[in-house]
């Protein structure tokens, strides 16, 4: 029945207008002078020049990449053993644990981030706990550490779930084969299990790193406004300053940097894959 294919037409029009056109507009705004009309505009590279010649902007971009990298690293190091534990549990326990990890993800990210403010604030539970443990009573809220914590908190479930999925797909006979061939448990893990779980690690990295680079409400809520990341700069340009052209250029630069990082990560996965072929 060919007639049914017409059902897709409204959405094709919609998607062109609401998905494609906005992306084209970002590109158009990034390369044009402010105050131009849609029909009539003059091209310019001044926004990109402004960004790359200002050390402050470059520093913010660098800082965003560094904190996203730290977040990803912590999520990977902490998330992997947890995912491994879940994957090695029996079916019933595994389902419960996965539900327990997914449940908070349904709750508004902003609400969950806001909840940390009370825990981290001066005189709060965590500060007192650290005091009891003999760490003094350090300032926790509105520090880089708080921002990092907020990011790990928001994004680590993605890492755990991705790694867990790839670990669950693992063929158990491979582990037996590895043991039969004389590998001990650590050798089996490093040379069989870990390389085979790399696809999960890579998609976990993607799901943590990308939102971490562009996040702006976590640094705002937990960093107290002094801690600026690239997402905050974009927010500022669009909401406060109203320089949409410059803001569009910054977000294009951000997307480019993200794509380059992801390309690097995929390369890493492929070289890991080749090593596996050699085994």
């Amino acid at each position: 029945m060919k007639k049914f294919s017409q059902l897709a037409i409204p959405y094709i029009v919609w998607a062109a207008l609401m998905i494609l056109l906005p992306l084209l507009l970002i590109i158009l705004y990034a390369f044009t002078k402010p105050g131009n009309e849609f029909i009539q505009f003059s091209l310019t590279l001044e926004h990109f020049a402004k960004f790359f010649t200002d050390p402050d902007f470059l520093l913010v971009l660098w800082r965003s990449l560094v904190i996203a990298f730290k977040t990803t690293l912590i999520c990977g190091v902490l998330g992997y053993p947890v995912a491994y534990f879940i994957a090695r549990s029996n079916d019933r326990v595994r389902n419960i644990l996965i539900l327990a990890i997914t449940l908070p993800m349904w709750i508004n990210m902003l609400v969950r981030t806001y909840a940390w403010i009370g825990l981290l604030s001066d005189g709060g539970i965590l500060q007192k706990l650290l005091g009891l443990l003999g760490f003094g009573e350090p300032k926790l809220l509105y520090t880089e550490g708080a921002v990092l914590l907020g990011m790990v908190y928001n994004f680590i479930p993605f890492m755990i779930l991705q790694i867990n999925t790839s670990l669950c797909k693992l063929d158990h006979s491979l582990l037996e084969a590895s043991a039969d061939l004389g590998a001990d448990r650590f050798q089996t893990f490093w040379r069989v299990v870990f390389p085979l779980s790399l696809p999960g690690v890579v998609s976990g990295i993607t799901l943590v790193f990308l939102p971490a680079v562009s996040s702006f409400f976590i640094p705002k809520l937990l960093g107290g406004g002094q801690y600026f990341l690239i997402g905050n700069v974009i927010e500022n340009q669009f909401i406060t300053v109203g320089e949409w052209n410059f803001g569009s250029a910054i977000s294009l630069i951000m997307v480019m940097v993200m794509m380059l990082s992801m390309y690097a990560v995929r390369r890493l996965d492929r070289s890991g894959g080749r090593e596996e072929d050699r085994l």
């Binding site: 959405y11 998607a15 879940i86 990890i101 806001y114 940390w116 539970i125 680079v213 949409w244």
Partner: protein, 263 residues
């Protein structure tokens, strides 16, 4: 796998769950505090709930959130479902192009989708407010509905609609009485994703709204600078609402199975 005690793993798992739930529990507990403090619990009271229900700002943002979530879910579920059916009967090239386009809002950083839509509304001179927020929510919800209906369609016999029409059904009857019931599980999970995505959205709503129209997330964001335990009360309400929706969705198949067993 071998049964092991795995004390380290259990300890780590426990810590992780504590890490996940501690802030939420903390927030719920302090929403019942009888003072403004976020660090010291001085006694039980429901004053912040009273304050919340009295605050016009908060109640309006709650209504906005719910109305937009319900409308966006209904519209995007309908459009997403018929689009998925239409695409399954389209030429391969068309299907692949549309699905590619459909992936953008899911793959792109949310802030990019947000500023793109903001620029669109600015360029088309549409005043930003409730309508633009609703349009934006529909725009980012439809892709998820299509993605969850498509796999169910692929599992169906492609001749099902034709068979229904051979037996005398009109095209609309074969669509809504034959195809749609078969796709129900995909449609329901698509609607659920759409609802929670819309209900929880902050970034896109924040950029496309205007004229003082706020949803809950925007309200939390703008109020977070001052200590205001009413936000804890509101957040607790959100947690309870979302948990109820999830429990209902998870229980429904169980209850239905039990009912069918009784028959």
């Amino acid at each position: 796998m071998k049964k092991q005690k795995r004390p380290i793993g259990k300890f780590l798992m426990g810590l992780t769950l504590l890490f996940f739930y501690l802030p939420i529990v903390f927030m719920i507990v302090f929403s019942f505090n009888d003072s403004k403090s976020l660090t010291h619990f001085s006694g039980f009271s429901t004053m912040w709930y009273t304050k919340m229900f009295q605050s016009r700002d908060m109640m309006e943002s709650l209504y906005t959130t719910i109305i937009i979530a319900v409308l966006a879910t209904a519209i995007s579920t309908f459009v997403g479902t018929i689009t998925a059916i239409g695409l399954s009967k389209s030429r391969r090239l068309v299907r692949r192009l549309v699905l590619q386009l459909n992936d953008f809002p899911i793959m792109n950083p949310e802030i990019v989708t947000a500023i793109g839509l903001m620029l669109l509304f600015i360029t088309l001179r549409i005043e930003r407010g409730f309508v633009t927020m609703l349009l934006a929510h529909i725009a980012f919800c439809i892709p998820y509905v299509i993605l969850s209906v498509m796999p169910r369609l692929r599992a169906l016999d492609p001749n099902l609609a034709d068979a229904a029409m051979d037996l005398g059904a009109t095209p609309w009857q074969s669509l809504f009485m034959v195809l749609v019931p078969q796709l129900m599980p995909g449609i329901v999970s698509g609607a659920l994703i759409a609802f929670t995505m819309s209900f929880d959205d902050f970034i896109i709503s924040y950029f496309v709204t205007g004229g003082g129209v706020k949803n809950l997330s925007i309200m939390v964001y703008t109020m977070s600078k001052r200590v205001n335990p009413s936000i804890n009360a509101m957040s607790t309400l959100v947690v309870v609402l979302i948990t109820l929706v999830l429990v209902a969705i998870n229980l429904e198949p169980l209850l239905r199975a039990r009912r069918e067993k009784k028959k």
